[in-house]
């Protein structure tokens, strides 16, 4: 259940002591999900904060005509969830689904706050985590406002690599903000057909 990869990742941000990491594994709830299982469904309950040990999670919301808008794909060592719902303990419109067999550590709000309050290193860790996440969100916004659909897709393949192979194309299209039909055309064109 303990994970070298997760620990290594923690320590790449902050110089954690063993007892601090122990506290995390103590407070976090380890859980496995099979491919296509739901980890969280939108609704009145607040969304947990999730660290992915292995596998892949998709965070999305459902819009008009049951259309699924994909907000994020999360992979190994990524945190995911609805931060707003988590922090404010409000209802969430997001849902989270396992796109592959997935292992996670789930944090509740109390546990999160307890970690931050007890260990300045965790406060620092999350500060840096959010800071880095902010940078990548900003980059995604830049792509959204200045890239063509083809450029967005090419960036996706660069950023997510092999993940593309296991994800249904309609969700990739949704993540990019284009239709699956158009993504299909882009891929055909890029394949030189």
């Amino acid at each position: 259940m303990y994970s070298d990869s997760i620990i290594k990742n923690f320590r790449s941000y902050v110089d954690f002591q063993q007892k601090e990491l122990d506290a995390f594994f103590d407070l976090a709830h380890y859980q496995k999900f099979k491919k296509n299982e739901m980890l969280f469904e939108s609704g009145p309950g607040s969304c947990p904060f999730i660290l992915i040990k292995s596998g892949c999670l998709m965070t999305y919301f459902t819009g008009e005509k049951d259309f699924i808008h994909v907000i994020q794909f999360g992979i190994e060592n990524w945190w995911t969830g609805d931060l707003n719902s988590f922090m404010q303990e409000e209802a969430s419109i997001y849902s989270i689904k396992a796109m592959a067999n997935t292992e996670v550590y789930i944090l509740g709000k109390k546990e999160f706050e307890s970690l931050c309050a007890k260990f300045p290193n965790f406060e620092k860790y999350f500060r840096i985590l959010f800071q880095n996440s902010l940078v990548s969100h900003q980059k995604r916004i830049i792509r959204n406002i200045s890239f063509t659909a083809e450029e967005k897709y090419l960036t996706f393949t660069q950023n997510f690599g092999k993940l593309e192979l296991i994800l249904p194309q309609k969700y990739i299209a949704s993540y990019l903000g284009i239709t699956p039909e158009f993504l299909s055309m882009i891929r055909r064109k890029l394949a030189g057909r």
Copy 2:
């Protein structure tokens, strides 16, 4: 030079002691900019981290054919800058311009780290700041992938209110990821003409 509004804002996130706030005002560099003055120009130097006391700053980068892509409009109590450039002390492609007479507090990397290291409250403050910023960036991404141009514009007017009146429309259009010509048509349609 000290600002009640800024202090009030600091304290809305974290219960700061006076000496902590004093340390901030001590380390930060207060500066005034006239409308249309450049606060930072893209290039090899790393971008500072800026807290706006009053006025309005526009963060943007220049793309092909000198086209300006607006990343953010910042107003009173907002932080702005190129977080990536700031944290990694790398060159920035961003530039920052005053869209109105503007007062700011500018933080350097060393000063930022010194605040975080000395005062856990500042570490916490920035953690919450980045956390909230992340939530609004995520919302903006959702708008980008799921809203029409008209819906994006309406959200902008709701979010920024009076600011719209002082900003050249071509920059609003750029921020929304549409052409100024199309924004002009949207506004005419909304005005019922």
